[in-house]
């Protein structure tokens, strides 16, 4: 989908039924910009079902995105939504959360948005342990700009900017997030939607920085150049490659080569959350001023 394109609302707004995800959608903004077979809508829906489960309030929830096909999700969500600039969603979200700790703050980002241009903000957000939930849609490419290589394209992957095969390794984004200090780290796929929903739900309730990598398919740009072709095949491929953390535990790195380890990968509730420790500091200052 070309950058700058947007859907024009010409459809009749559908009647929102409180117990479906339509409750959280600007259905009048449909049709959405995503290609047929794209996994971004699936991941977004998993997030919205998690939101329904938790009963997130529209007025108390702010969803911030960067730039990319994945980040376009915010244009359809009926929360306070910020479609920010490329790579900086977490920096915007940091300002929002610090100014209003009572808001539930969610960040939607892509692998280019979150791990390339926004990589520095990602590691610092992990380190700060602010209570923000980040969902990174990993489709292994720059979808919006037409299939260029992303840090997650992987060795040997093809992209318009890697016509002879990409020769750089990728990040293990979850290990990166954990090492940087995220206190909740999980991975799911657009095939395992129930698991993904649960991981997102638990990430939102986790009091600290939650990082959820959602591995998903971009049939148009990545799938065009890399096997297997076609959305169904790509989803099947995700299913075959996915392996739960439990199962993966006893396996060697060689055996895990090319597999996608899913599930809750790391959780630590002992680290203080930033808005809470900031509030305690304010309290200390107030007390010493009173004395």
């Amino acid at each position: 989908m070309a950058e700058g394109e947007s859907s024009v609302a010409e459809q009749e707004p559908s009647v929102a039924e409180p117990r479906t995800i339509d409750h959280y959608l600007h259905t009048d903004r449909f049709p959405h910009i995503w290609c047929p077979g794209c996994g971004l809508g699936t991941v977004t829906a998993a997030f919205l079902r998690a939101a329904l489960e938790l009963g997130l309030e529209k007025d108390r929830t702010v969803v911030v995105a960067g730039i990319g096909c994945s980040s376009r999700a915010v244009g359809y969500l009926d929360f306070g939504t910020v479609h920010s600039i490329h790579g900086r969603a977490l920096a915007f979200a940091t300002g929002i959360k610090m100014a209003h700790p009572e808001f539930t703050v969610i960040v939607l980002t892509g692998d280019g948005d979150g791990a390339a241009i926004g990589g520095n903000h990602l590691i610092h957000a992990c380190r700060r342990n602010l209570d923000i939930t980040t969902i990174l849609f990993n489709n292994n490419t720059y979808g919006m700009t037409g299939g260029q290589a992303s840090p997650q394209t992987g060795m040997g992957g093809y992209a318009t900017t890697a016509p002879f095969g990409f020769d750089e390794p990728s990040f293990d984004l979850c290990r990166l997030a954990e090492a940087a200090g995220a206190t909740y780290v999980a991975r799911g796929t657009s095939y395992g939607v129930r698991q993904l929903q649960k991981l997102i739900r638990d990430g939102i309730t986790h009091p600290g920085f939650s990082f959820i990598e959602a591995v998903t398919q971009c049939p148009t740009e990545y799938g065009k150049r890399n096997p297997p072709k076609g959305p169904v095949q790509m989803l099947e491929n995700l299913k075959e490659k996915a392996i739960s953390r439990k199962k993966a535990e006893g396996m060697t790195p060689e055996e895990l080569e090319g597999r996608i380890v899913t599930g809750l990968l790391h959780r630590d509730e002992s680290v203080p959350e930033l808005t809470a420790s900031y509030a305690r500091m304010l309290e200390r200052i107030r007390k010493s001023a009173d004395e």
């Binding site: 007025d59 306070g80 910020v82 929002i96 209003h100 808001f103 610092h124 500091m281």
Partner: protein, 392 residues
């Protein structure tokens, strides 16, 4: 002015004569103006602003964040601003360059915030502790696309205080980022100062009381209503061209209308936005137009020139953009030439020239060796020019 008082108590020896640094005065102005969110990244010669904010903001229940870079700093400020918080950041050239994309976002999304740029010599690392006014055009045109800009320039410690207050108020009222330019001299200089001193500086443009603290914005027609996240409206904020609903549009008519509105809200309020002071109105055959630390030299040069038989009019600009078109054109009709001393190669002189050239000659006096332009330098140049124009 209660806040002001508490902030200074800690270091007050004699309350009537305080020696305050320019950067510090800027931070105090911000606090008095209601800034309650500051995010920044250290850079000479602006760091003292963030250091004061780090100390003082928590005491008033505000948020101070040291971010990982200047991009994150301004983005955090915009994020806080979108929730209705009054935010500010401060930096110098290299950091200001990093902020440009987000400044454009704040213009597009109509998110008020204040960016203080204590200019250093550039390009690149340049000379960090050397004064310069090299970022004037970057402040006007640094971000991409056709966009409006509000840019103020501080010439002394009192200005750092009051123009920061003005910047906050303009930002809130016009719902856009406002840039305050200072140079290293102004940022690092210490002068005796109090809010009363700040109030004593009268402007010819007169309708702005700097001792007044922040007033909630009254909405004018051209200014879009604020989008406060976390309200019952649950708005959508985007850097894409959007219509009045806040959602993106590709409609050519609506796109143009939106972009024009962004400009119009500034241009239509030029009278309110253009802060300036004229000395010797109508008494000089020649004029000096100056801003920042050079304006100080220009004011001093006025007396010196008079003693030497050159009556001169001085236009001291506190607002560089929007351009004070009418003020400059009126001046141009009165004088034989306009001299513009600035610590760059004539960035603002070029702007004045295109406004004034139908009526008068505009002479640029640029200096880029890192030294000041002194009152003597200005008078000498005036004498040269007067000689030249009289013999011609």
């Amino acid at each position: 002015m209660e806040l002001w008082y508490t902030h200074l108590m800690r270091e007050t020896i004699d309350q009537d004569s305080l020696l305050v640094q320019g950067n510090r005065a800027c931070a105090l102005g911000a606090l008095d103006a209601g800034v309650r969110f500051f995010a920044g990244y250290p850079i000479t010669p602006s760091s003292e602003i963030m250091e004061v904010m780090a100390r003082e903001l928590p005491a008033v229940g505000g948020v101070f964040m040291q971010m990982e870079d200047e991009i994150a700093s301004i983005c955090a400020c915009i994020g806080a601003s979108l929730t209705g918080e009054i935010s500010m950041t401060a930096t110098s050239g290299p950091g200001f360059s990093l902020m440009q994309e987000a400044i454009g976002y704040a213009i597009m999304a109509e998110a008020p915030t204040v960016i203080v740029n204590v200019m250093r010599m550039g390009p690149s690392t340049g000379r960090p502790t050397t004064p310069s006014q090299g970022d004037v055009m970057q402040a006007r045109w640094g971000t991409h696309g056709d966009h409006p800009a509000i840019v103020l320039a501080a010439s002394n410690v009192a200005d750092m205080y009051r123009l920061t207050i003005a910047a906050v108020r303009f930002a809130q009222r016009f719902r856009m980022p406002v840039i305050v330019l200072a140079d290293e001299i102004v940022g690092h200089m210490r002068e005796s100062f109090s809010p009363e001193i700040a109030g004593r500086y009268r402007l010819t443009s007169g309708d702005f009381d700097f001792t007044e603290t922040y007033i909630h914005p009254e909405m004018v027609r051209e200014v879009h209503p604020p989008h406060e996240l976390g309200t019952l409206i649950h708005p959508h904020v985007t850097g894409l061209i959007h219509d009045e609903t806040g959602f993106p549009t590709n409609d050519p008519k609506k796109s143009e209308q939106f972009l024009r509105e962004l400009h119009d809200k500034v241009v239509h309020h030029r009278g309110e936005l253009c802060l300036y002071d004229v000395k010797n109105v109508g008494k000089g055959r020649v004029a000096v137009v100056a801003y920042g630390s050079c304006a100080r030299s220009a004011r001093a040069a006025l007396k010196l020139a008079e003693q030497e038989g050159i009556p001169v009019e001085v236009l001291h600009l506190y607002t560089l953009f929007p351009l004070p078109v009418e003020i400059i054109q009126e001046l141009a009709r009165r004088v034989e030439f306009i001299l513009i001393p600035e610590l760059n190669l004539g960035q603002y002189a070029r702007e004045v020239r295109r406004l004034a050239e139908n009526w008068t000659t505009v002479v640029s006096m640029g200096r880029i060796d890192g030294n000041l332009i002194t009152p003597r330098d200005i008078v000498d140049r005036l004498a040269e020019l007067v000689g030249k124009y009289e013999s011609a």
